[in-house]
Amino acid sequence: MKNPFDDFRDHPTTEREIPLDSIIQSRNRVMSNIIRGYEMLLEEEVKELVWLVQYNTVIKAYTLAEKAVKEFDYRAEDIEEFCYELDSTDKIPYLITGPAGIYISALCNYAQEEEITLKLSDLKTQINLLGYRLPVGKKVVVEGNLGDFTGIGMEGGELVVEGSAKNYTGAGMKSGRIRIMKNIGLHTGEWMMGGEILVGGRVRGLGKIVDGKVYEDEKLIYPRNYRQSNTYY
């Protein structure tokens, strides 16, 4: 019996290699490295069972994250994509917002680019701890809202949030600038030792601030005498 497809055997259907192929291959490779690094961090952190934002826990997690991200090259776009991969949860087994935020912060801190823009407005989950230890000379712009502990322990970088942030923003920051376009939660600047927090909208409550400045709608609200720590208004 004659194979009906024989007539098409000589038909020229050669595929040509286009740059898109290598871009996608490289992107997939980088993404699997990033995911592997995150899984390594999770393997360690899952032993703690309950992840608490404590000084030692955060430092330990960050040390692990630093170690992981130093081992591969990536670009700012990879970080954003990783945030969406975390959000969709079909590739990564689980999203623990604490370690995830620490890991994303490490990725930002060690990225080649000095300025990183993360378009996160379509994320279903809010990322906590983003901007941790952001160093001098780095600027991270986030389109969307962030969760708790945004920009904690900042070390001279600039974090811009084109949305709102929750509680303990800028806690323990040493220097640098956090600019929040909309509103901010309670305990803002808790144990802050320097730097500035500028809020475009409302500040729900200030924490126990050691040093530094907090602005609400361009007005300096710390240091000033009439506002007490943890005042809810």
Binding site: T13, I18, P19, L20, E77
Partner: protein, 521 residues
Amino acid sequence: MATTPEEIIKRIWARVRMKHLFPELPIPKVSEGKGNVALEMKSKQITINTAFSDKIAQKMDMEDVVEALLDHGISHYTYCPWDFHTHLRLFTEAKRVIKDKELAKRAAGLFMDVVADTYCVKRRKTPLPDLYKHLEGGKVEEVITSLYQKIWGVDLCAKEDEEVVLRLARIPYLDKKQWDKSIQKFTRVIKALLELQEEQDRQEDSQANPMGEHGLDGYTLEEIDRGLRDFANQNVGLKEFKETFEDFKDELKEVGYGMEGGMGRGEGSPLDADLIYYMKLAENYSIPIKKVPMEKRGFLNPHSHSPWEIGRPFQDVDVWTSFGKIMPGITQTWNKIEGSTFGERESVPDCIIIIDSSGSMTNPRKNLSYAVLGAACASDAYLRNDAQVAVYNFSDAPMGGKAILDFTSNRTKIYQILCKYFGGGTALNLNELDPLLETSKKPDIFIITDMKITNLGKVIGYLSTIDNRITAVYIGENTYALRFREAMEGRKNVSFYNVTKKEDIPKIVLGKIREYFRGNL
């Protein structure tokens, strides 16, 4: 050498078709259109705008312009979107990111362009890059050309927003499985640009995509129908289906979808998204019906021939023995006599669908109602077998909470009554069933309810007195359903089904009690 687009098409069409592995498309046409839109595709007919091709032909060879446009159009047909379902899917995903429906349509259109063109450039020998090199457009089109430059590796003299292009270039356009995610990423990146361009377009009243917009014109009504069916079945909820349907409602009307009848005057009935949702979903389920032996009807059967004479009806002409001619003396007509046949012919009786739309039932216009879907599947099954369906939709029937539809084969009318929701108390006015039972010859009864009926005792009593085939479907488990079941269990003409999820519906077999009728005949 051919120089006009028309002549070029005639010359190259066979070669272009072969290049694309012989798509089933008619030979493209040309039109002397105005404006900057290069081509349009209506019901698979590609039409090239000569005003556009003449303009571009000043910068590149006319044959290449025509071939590139054909490659573009055919790639949409053969690869992306391929069908209306994919089109809807891509639009829905884009709309998750960009809430404005027009912008979402535009984003989906651009994504489909990138996918189709990239596929063509990778898999076929095409002058498409040359065309894009000379194409003029707004900011968005310039970014897309820059993207092509980046991902195709061809110099298109484009210099646009590096950051945006870098993000767009990372999307796996040729991975079909990832299209849902990819279009979300794509839309996220170009969202700001689209909003900006929309503003500019509004001010300058300019045309958007020079390669043509992706409306519903490209699809036939059958394709639209199939696309909606697949979309309804693709785990989208009623809300999402309705939202998407509403977004395309005007275009669907324009292409004539859902329009019944032909000539006439007056405004047509509005397209009802809920109705369409249940219709399309029901088409995915096929419920079997057991046929019953019916009496002879005395059909007239062709018996012998006689010559045709002027004045005798044409419908009796036998074309095979008349040599295709209508001429006295030559033309033969059939003489018909009433046939006498032996045995019994099995067929499907009509059906009365009794559906509960009381407050304890799901509102079919808010959430997926298993009762409506089950009843819809049952009505479709009867209609498919040339039987008619009557509907008795009740809530608190004695207080007026009811809708009755006499026997009909009009599917839309049936669905309209099935989708009615009263949301009140639950009681049946049993006397109202009598006229329906008398109209048709022993119709089947299909009752679908959660059985939380205040006069359940009377209902049981009434149904016990009739010997029609009854298919009772109850939604969820409760004591009332148990009571009904226990009371009717002994009766051979009643079959019960419980529906707790969508997948239970195809398990229903309508009029399953065959033995009962055999005994009665």
